[in-house]
Amino acid sequence: MSFDKIIGQEKVKRRLSFYLDGQHKTSLSPHLLFVAPRGSGKTLLAQTYASQLLNLEGKKRKLITINCSTLTSLKSFIDDICIHYISGKEITVLFDEASEIPSAIRTALLTILNPNKENRNNFTYDDVTIEFDFKKVTFLFATTEAHKIFHALVDRLERIDLEEYSNDDLGIIVRKNVDAPISDAALEEVKKVLRGNARKATQMANHISLYLRSSDKREFIMRDWIDFKNKLGINALGLTPIEIKILKILSEKSLTTLTNLSAKTQMSRQSLQRDTENYLQKLNLMEITAAGRKITVQGKQYLESLK
């Protein structure tokens, strides 16, 4: 069992290795729900797990990945997926963005995944009965928003919560993906702008490789980092221009409402809450109180540092 290519997530990897060991001996794997913020590698981890599931002959099973936001009807689920890919075959099915599964399909999955001693279920739709033998079929789900998945479906799955990536893990990801040495000092600065996000670390590594190739350099040192971040417009702590704008708006008044922020930034309230405020709060640059939103001392210091 190998998750060597995945950095960090040691507890999760041990748990998945345990499930794989069981699957190789019994042909049975639990159905798993991978939960983590965006860019944390849940899909990669699910795919790596799937790549090691074996069919009854001991060969690697095929995987299909479904983008759940494109699932629209139960009929399509039955016709395009169950009959075409699952019925009579050995396969692993990964539902990506699982919170988008429509309720009709969710209800069907409740029946399909109903646990029993035989580890198999039949599902009938429009006179067609499909057998789900869990020695042959494993369902995996990945989502950032587990709370949006129906609780009865969550109850039928083993939930795998990914750990938050440390800055050191992110540094390892960057180093591993850049095919040239990076100085420790430069890497320390790179780690600070990755926002705890593994996907960003991979993207950053790709950009650094491109920078090194285009400037014909064989290593990435502090001087390169300064030049690199100026070229790409990377801000301290990895803040986006809109997040800096929010801090500036907050600094103008002692308290600001979400509606006011939305009006001034032209962003929806949901987008502000989901995409920007979480990170600013995590860094302690702003705080939300019952009376409204306000900038913190650290937030003011951040804005000062930009001058």
């Binding site: 095929k62 995987l63 990945t65 494109t70 009807s73 399509s76």
Partner: protein, 86 residues
């Protein structure tokens, strides 16, 4: 229309009376909480809430766009297959 109070907050309405008011293609605005309450029954008939109302309705107006084959193409399920080497 005959109405029978069940509790202070509920009414019973005969379906035949509703049918006098609404045609098959009429759009009826109902509270989301009520829709959630009957989601299971709708699902049993192959109707998903997400399909019913993907975008929030603005004010009181609803525009109906005729369903076309192009729309069907755009909503085809995206599936990617991966085979792993032994």
């Amino acid at each position: 229309m005959p109405k029978k109070p069940v509790t202070k907050r509920h009414l019973v309405i005969k379906m035949s009376d509703l049918k006098k008011m609404f045609g098959d293609n009429d759009l009826v605005c109902i509270p989301k909480s009520f829709a959630r309450d009957i989601a299971y029954m709708l699902a049993a008939h192959g109707v998903s809430l997400e399909e019913l109302n993907k975008k929030p309705v603005v004010e009181d107006e609803v525009e109906i766009e005729p369903k076309s084959d192009k729309a069907d193409d755009a909503t085809k399920v995206q599936i990617s297959e991966t085979c792993f080497e032994d």
